[in-house]
């Protein structure tokens, strides 16, 4: 079961694509506008958009000769949840270790 976290995390592991996402949270934009700040050829840039689209992070829509790109919030939230969950488990374990350390310390004090 190849999770879609795979394609999501892979999609945002590229700085160009992360920059596109950072722009798109501000609102939809045309391919040309998104491309402008990046110093790479248009066809190369288009590939990045296709990767984002394939990962479900983005939808696109052709209007006349312009293609407009919108962000899709759900996958962003899903990835955030995965990370949050790992942190939570890790913090839980940390708390348990701290509690354990305290118990040991106390029982050593009893030994004196």
């Amino acid at each position: 079961m190849a999770n879609h976290l795979d394609s999501f995390f892979s999609a945002i592991s590229d700085p160009t694509r992360r920059a596109v996402i950072e722009r798109l949270v501000e609102g939809p934009a045309a391919v040309g506008e998104l491309h402008a700040p990046h110093d790479i050829a248009l066809p190369t840039f288009l590939k990045h958009i296709k990767v984002l689209e394939a990962s479900g992070l983005v939808r696109t829509e052709k209007k006349g000769r312009v293609r407009v790109v919108h962000i899709e919030a759900a996958p962003l939230a899903e990835a955030e949840h995965w990370l949050t969950r790992q942190r939570e488990v890790w913090e839980d374990r940390f708390d348990r270790l701290a509690a354990l350390a305290e118990r040991i310390e106390r029982s050593q004090a009893d030994d004196l």
Copy 2:
């Protein structure tokens, strides 16, 4: 400035490596133990550990002939923050759009 978000997100875009992280939040483990549930050759698995280590997500330490792997929480938090920030900006914009829509609706009601 090649961000370390690059190597971080790339590291966790692989299901084997995410599984390793999910195991490691429960506590440190030896390479052999981490490898056991995965049906791939050990050298292949070791590469994954190296990738995790290079991304800073994990530290390893040799004890006798065993190598113990620990998780490093900071990068996890950093990535989580990036995602959270994107969601926040997106939600802000959503709120502004909703407010705008309401103003428009109200002004149309005035026209009646």
